[in-house]
């Protein structure tokens, strides 16, 4: 009976799941980017059109969406730097697992800071 192969750099565990996370966050960011260029382009239509549409970003539900988007961006950024280290640093592949946990720790720190600041601004009394 065949046994399940152990995790490798590419199959299962940190290596594979970081790859999955990188793809999913990448696609999410790409589709937001398309929308974001379109909404910013309204500055060319009229000041009122831009200010009206950008107002949609300022409601509480969107504040949560923005926090989710920034969470995706920060993970993709830090994990991207990890991928560069895996590819170009001599010991990158050896330490890829430790680097992923470093990425996740930094991600938590940055996101706690960002969420406190952004949500208190976005949801605070204005």
């Amino acid at each position: 009976m065949p046994t399940k192969p152990a995790g490798t750099l590419y199959r299962g565990r940190e290596g594979m799941w970081s790859w999955v996370g990188h793809r999913v966050t990448g696609v999410v960011i790409f589709f937001f980017l398309l929308v974001h260029v379109l909404d910013t382009s309204l500055v060319r239509v009229s000041p009122e059109a831009y200010t009206a549409v950008i107002g949609a970003y300022k409601n509480p539900l969107m504040a949560l969406g923005e926090t989710g988007l920034v969470a995706a961006i920060v993970f993709h950024a830090f994990n991207g730097l990890r991928i560069i280290a895996v590819d170009f640093w001599k010991k990158g592949a050896k330490y890829q697992r430790q680097m992923l946990w470093t990425v996740l720790a930094l991600w938590v720190v940055v996101m706690v800071g960002f969420s406190i600041r952004h949500l208190s601004l976005a949801l605070g009394g204005h």
Partner: protein, 154 residues
Amino acid sequence: MTATIQPPRSGRISPQYRRSGSSKGNFEMLAWLFMRLSGVVLVVLIFGHLTVNLLVGEGIHAIDFGFVAGKWADPFWQVWDLAMLWLAMLHGTNGVRTIINDYAEKDATRMWLKIVLYAAAAAIIILGTLVIFTFNPCPVVDGVQLPGGFCPAP
């Protein structure tokens, strides 16, 4: 007769085993390298963008037409946003191209998905570039100032 097998990195490899020099050239290697180089630059550009637009001062509440006009009055932010637009769009388009190549198995499906992707990417890059360069902070239509404009005092 003994066939001579050259060492793999001697550069004297039979043409059929050569990885480069095919019709695609080394496009894939350049794309791979571009993802890493643009990635590093994008980390700086996007973290700066998020900090200035969301974390400083009143954050998101400060963003309106006047905010954009104030930023694009400065060539520094025009160049920043232009670089961010081009690098992010090319980085994202190449990423989605990779995903299409990985998951769309039929040749025709792959081709059509990539045609749609490239058309959308070209449209967004051209639109964004035109907006940055033709932006008018003080729009006037038929001699009348549009409401909400950002006109510096004369």
